[in-house]
Each structure stands twice: as structure tokens, then as C-alpha cells.
Symmetry: C2
Subunit: 110 residues, 2 copies
Amino acid sequence: MQVKSNIWFEVDGRVVLSRWRIRLLQAIEQTGSISKAADLMDVPYRRAWEKIHESEVRLGFKLVETQVGGVGGGGARLTAACIDLIQKYDTIVKGLGAVLLQRFEDTFDT
Amino acid sequence: MQVKSNIWFEVDGRVVLSRWRIRLLQAIEQTGSISKAADLMDVPYRRAWEKIHESEVRLGFKLVETQVGGVGGGGARLTAACIDLIQKYDTIVKGLGAVLLQRFEDTFDT
DNA sequence: AATCGCTATGATTATAACACATAACGAGTG
DNA sequence: CACTCGTTATGTGTTATAATCATAGCGATT
């Protein structure tokens, strides 16, 4: 048996940022494209794009600046607002996982 | 925007205990029946029973001792192992929500 | 103008949630 | 002893949700 956790942000009761979405955004930052990020996350492009779009609509601002066509077919990069949000998420979540795991082990004597 | 969290236990990658399931079990403890607990949780009996059964199979021991027929048609009560698990879950989760909220407010200056 | 791979989105399929329905049970009651 | 009653347990069909497949359009570079 193991303990798991998730921490996410909501707007009007709908998810706008979760651990998975954070990883996806970071993958976009690394690869420079939604498509490559989707491959990295092992999900179809469709799903990656949809989740980002969903978050953007709910938040009311863009997380990803995309370019269609051009060299390499196009690409994507994170907006400043997105980078700021990721940073805030990391700050809030940092260390909590470790605390949780420690408590779990203490409680179950592993 | 608000922060949300969930903490759950897994066995072989499958959920065996979550906040929702804890509440369900506690409702069974209070009411003495899965049926009444389901009403309290505002879900059909079918679902309540299924989730409990699922958890029991995955854990390999019973969470709820049921009696079918008899006075009042039957009933249900938590096993000692179940009560122990609930207590462990509460111990682990206790206070984490408050810490999370505090961090959220500090980070977003609310 | 031809290319390339990426964005964007429509259409389809698979999966999970939900609601409905019903059999079996057994302590108490008349 | 036949009957009642509310509960457990489970089958079945339907609906909603999520994942997958497929394809059009773009534009800097060659």
C-alpha cells in the first residue's frame, strides 16, 4: 500500500492547473512545441492541446504562445503569466510530498 | 482561484481509500447501513456498495461486516481493521489542508 | 511554388459513471 | 408457519465523459 496525493487549482470549480498540467507545460518549455511535449507525456496531441486550451479559457489569459506554420512547422512557448503560475504552484507544493510520505511511513511503521 | 487537494491510498496502482470513501465509511458507521449511508452521500446504493467492495477486494480484507435479512432488513458495520485504517488516514491527513491553504494565501497575497 | 512539421479542430470510438430493476435474506409479527 | 419489511447483493441497459483517430490549414524557408 502506498500514499498518493494531488494538488490543483480551480476556477469556478473547474481545474485550471494540476500536477499533470504543470508537467505538460514544463515539457512544452523544454521542447518548444505542444506536439513534442505530448509525445514526452505519452498522450495524443489532441489531449494536450485541449487541456491547455481549457485552462486558458477558464483562467482568462493565455498560458502558451503558439505559432502555426513557418520554420519547423511552428511551435509554442510559455507566456510570462504561465511561468509565474508554475513558479507559484511549485512554491506551494514544495516539500508537502515529503511531509506526507514521512507521515505515512511513521503511521504504518514501514 | 482556489487550491484543492486530495490524498488517497493505493494498492497495485488502484485506489483503496480516498477522502470520499472515508466519508462513505463514516456514514455507514453513523447510520448502520450502506443504504442509508448512500442516501446521506447522495449517491445510488449501487455505487456505494461497489466502491466498498472494490476496496475490500484490493486490500484483501473486509472493511464492512454486513447482515442481510433480519430485523430492519439487515445492516452494516465497520470492521476493526476498517476503523484502524480510517484512523491512520486521519492521522496522516490532519493539518495538511491548513498548511496548504496558508501557503496558497501567502503566495497569492490574498 | 513546394516542403515540412506543427497547430487547431472535427469525427469517431472506447471507457466509465449512472440509473433502473430485482432476487434473496431472515428476525420479528400475528 | 406464512407474511412483512428494509436491506444486501448483483444484473442490465443507458447516458455522459474521456481518449483516440483523422485531417485541414498555416507560413518561414528553400
